[in-house]
């Protein structure tokens, strides 16, 4: 840097602001600031902005990332919580729908489809015009084929029966699997398994959710207090204003009374 400083040398100004100048540069800048009110004001203002920035703090998030090896299922290192402290895994937190086994997700999807079909009363018919699908709430009588449809062949009966049987079997399998999963999770001395890790992750998520709710509650409370306070101030202002109006009215009435007294006490000629 040259040993002179001009008002448009913003890079040196910033370097001075952050204290990244050598002593000679500092002296040069300070000499300029002593005689230049505009630059001095700018340095002060930018310094204030830096102070204001200090107000901006990130939330005090519970982190606790850690990496562990998981050679059982995944040779790549997996990440789990550190010790028993509430923490989050290094890996992107699995969303709840990712924590269930794939077959359970598939079963759930089938169940949802089946339930949807049942609610919508879906019927598949084949006839001279080809296949047709109808939906809607229809009574069995209404859904019977009409004379014109006599040649049509209803295929939903046996198909639905088979479907129901398959679904019941699937549901039982799902229940059995969930029961066995719970039993594993309650085993105290059981070695660490991916299922336990999942359980811990769910617990973390629950804990985090509770924390969020508590904080939200605190915020709501503070908002409520602020609202009450604002209302109180508004009420006070209103009361003060009402008192003012009342005083004015009393004053007017008093003046009127004085006038009446004055007029009445004046001897009539």
């Amino acid at each position: 840097m040259s040993m002179t400083f001009t008002c448009d040398d913003k890079q040196t100004l910033v370097a001075y602001l952050y204290g990244e100048v050598d002593p000679a540069e500092r002296e040069t800048v300070e000499a300029h600031l002593a005689g230049c009110a505009a630059c001095a004001a700018e340095v002060t203002a930018l310094g204030d902005v830096r102070s204001e920035l200090g107000l901006w703090a990130p939330p005090d998030a519970e982190l606790g990332f850690a990496i562990v090896r998981n050679a059982v299922r995944n040779p790549v290192r997996n990440a789990v919580k550190r010790s028993d402290a509430p923490s989050a895994p290094v890996l992107r937190p699995a969303r709840w729908w990712n924590t269930a086994p794939v077959w359970a997700q598939a079963a759930a999807a089938v169940l949802v489809l089946a339930a949807g079909a049942a609610i919508a009363n879906v019927q598949v018919k084949s006839g001279p015009d080809g296949f047709s699908v109808t939906t809607g709430w229809m009574s069995p009588a209404l859904s019977e084929p009409s004379a014109g449809e006599a040649g049509g062949r209803r295929v939903e009966g046996p198909a639905v029966e088979e479907w129901k049987t398959a679904l019941v079997a699937l549901e039982q399998q799902l229940r059995t699997e969930i029961r066995s999963g719970r039993a594993q999770a309650t085993r105290v001395a059981a070695p660490a398994t991916p299922d336990e890790a999942t359980l811990r992750r769910v617990q973390q998520l629950l804990a985090a959710s509770e924390l969020r709710q508590q904080r939200e509650l605190a915020m709501r409370f503070i908002e409520f207090s602020r609202d009450v306070n604002t209302q109180r101030r508004a009420d006070l202002m209103k009361i003060t204003s009402s008192f003012g109006e009342f005083d004015e009215r009393i004053l007017r009435q008093r003046q009127m009374m004085n006038n009446v007294i004055r007029v009445s006490s004046t001897p009539q000629q």
Binding site: L53, L55, W56, A61, L63, F65
Partner: protein
């Protein structure tokens, strides 16, 4: 005696996962804070932070120690932040930790500070955060790295891959925009507030 980053990195590279976890413990909060201030969303900042450590762990064998471990982490985190911003195709949305700060402040301040003061501080913090969203990503990142992580101009230039002079210009322009924003929001100077 506390191990240095370099010692922990060496042990991690030799296969000591626990040493890497010590590095994580040491750097998780700065990395999270960096991500939060750059992208402005708590949940996404967490994701970026944990993804940073995971990538660092996987890339550790390739870390030759040319840069400080922290600078290397910052670079990974900033790249992830940049990806996030590009993916979302939007400026950072500063999501103030509404309940969080107030509750914590309330706990810290006790009965001395009134609700009005707390709300006022929260409001000022929000205005500052809003002002940061007005800045282009490069200016915002430069300010965050300088103000909150104490990096030198040269370190920021290395991280941002630009000349030193560009870093200074970004800082000056960013601070000037923030100054105008704060003034437009009626935020007086710190000295002014102290006097009042």
């Amino acid at each position: 005696m506390v191990a240095t980053d370099e010692e922990l990195v060496a042990k991690s590279m030799a296969g000591d996962t626990e040493s890497f976890n010590q590095l994580v413990l040491r750097w998780e909060r700065p990395i999270y804070a960096l991500a939060y201030r750059v992208i402005g969303r708590d949940e996404d900042a967490r994701d970026v932070a944990q993804e940073t450590f995971l990538r660092a762990f996987r890339a550790l064998p390739g870390f030759k120690g040319q840069a400080k471990f922290s600078s290397w982490l910052y670079r990974i985190a900033l790249n992830l932040c940049r990806d996030w911003i590009r993916r979302k195709k939007r400026t950072p949305l500063v999501e103030m930790p509404e309940g969080v700060d107030i509750a914590e402040l309330a706990a810290e301040q006790g009965p001395v500070e009134s609700i009005e003061d707390l709300v006022s501080r929260q409001e000022m913090s929000r205005i500052v955060a809003d002002g940061m969203t007005l800045l282009p990503e490069e200016q915002r990142t430069a300010i965050v790295l300088k103000e909150f992580h104490g990096l030198t101009f040269q370190e920021i230039a290395d991280l941002q891959g630009c000349p030193l002079s560009t870093v200074k210009t970004r800082l000056y322009q960013g601070l000037s925009v923030l100054r105008r924003h704060l003034e437009s929001q009626g935020m007086t100077t710190v000295e002014g507030r102290r006097e009042s």
